[in-house]
Amino acid sequence: MKAITRQKALAEIERMLDGNSRVFIVGCGTCATMCRTGGKAELLDMERKLTNLGKTVTGSVVIPTVCDALDQQAVAENTKAIEEADCILVMACAYGVQALALYTDKPVYPALDTLFMGQEMSPGVFSEVCVQCGECVLEWTSGICPLTACPKGLLNGPCGGAKNGKCEVSALKDCAWEVIYDRLRKQGKLGNLKKRRALRNFAASAKPGTYLVDSKDDQLK
């Protein structure tokens, strides 16, 4: 599962960086590289764009994974270039921005918007796979997540909105419940659809800002 990101518009990045003439840029070698939003090529492109805006890029680095402790080492290795910068522009997911902030007192700015937890279906096509509901239902839905693949997150079967197998929200999306129905039918498990499902427990989903103290303690705090 990868953090799927999209680069913010240059005008917005320019607004964020207003008053910062010297910028250090951080990219990410994992998700943002796969999304083509914060890999080596995108870093070079951003460097050129910022230079065109009259900024000085004091340095840049693609950290293999911005979302872990590797940041500490990367910050140490780039101390001089970071010290010379007014701020750090982070071309990684929101987690990466927050992780990096743990290791530097410089202002960190997000160059990307984090969209969803997803996977690459084909080059450049990303699909959301999990909304982190905290109560996995894949057991009885034949491995298709209705909370993710159905925009309404329905648990009791399809609404009346599908047309030619497509969702009312987008003609690009298959109706999740028609896919689930089809798979369960082939598996001889339509009984799964016939059970009325309990209300979703939103207290089980870890948002916003919830944390698990340790894995032995199953209470979300």
């Binding site: 009791n156 079967g157 399809p158 599908a162 047309k163 009312e168 209300l199």
Partner: protein, 288 residues
Amino acid sequence: MNLREKLAAGRFVVTCEVGPPKGVDITDMRRSAERVRGKVDAVNVTDQQSSVMRLGSLAGCVLLTQWGLEPVLQMTCRDRNRIALQSDLLSAYALGIENVLCLTGDYVTLGDHPQAKPVFDLDSVSLIETARQLEKGHDLAGKELKGSPRFFIGACVTPEADVLEPQIIKMDKKVEAGAQFFQTQAVYDAGRFADFMSTVRHIKVPILAGIVVLRSAAMGRYMNEKAAGIRVPERLIDEMDRAPDKAAKGVEIAVRTIAEVKGLCQGVHIMTIGQEKRTSDIIDAAGL
């Protein structure tokens, strides 16, 4: 007799709908309601239909009561979480409204506030269960209510869904959850509707066939192409195409469809989408 009693007595019932205004000028809504007063058994008030923000269905139902009509409160799960939905169910009952049609609701992006937060805390099945739970004197948290409501709970089904079986499975779940009547999505082909009624003959709650009145051949073609769960036969589109007076032809087709489905179900739900004058024309011509 109210809607519940009429259906229990085996009367063929007629319902229709009015859409509340976008704004507070209720003149047109009142005119529409008064046109059908005495001709229909109940009037549905739509809940932010097509996700377009407007005056609320609960207020619309109270107004209908004041104007001497029996309302059906349409409730969707799009805009309210379980706290607000339960509260509105209690409010409705306290204001004298018993008929509730429980719907999932269109998605937010289909309407005029596409950036709004979609809720869908409950769905149509769990909303029906919720109404039932309140009737039993407890809320969803199990807390005791001071005085419990009594509803006549409706639900929706789409007989012309592309893939029918999951719709019927869900229909069964709605009955299990406590649905006491159904109003269907639009029906144009009585033969296919007869097949549908035969498929759901194990369901013992009254079913009101949805009648959506055609305004033009283009509307028929548009619905075939875009609207979910609606199938207008080509022969009806041709008929509309050839007719010099489209409005009269639309009414004629609706009257004919009602005559064809009358022996198959327990009532009809007429949707004229803002042209309630035609509802009264249809009822007069259908002899209902």
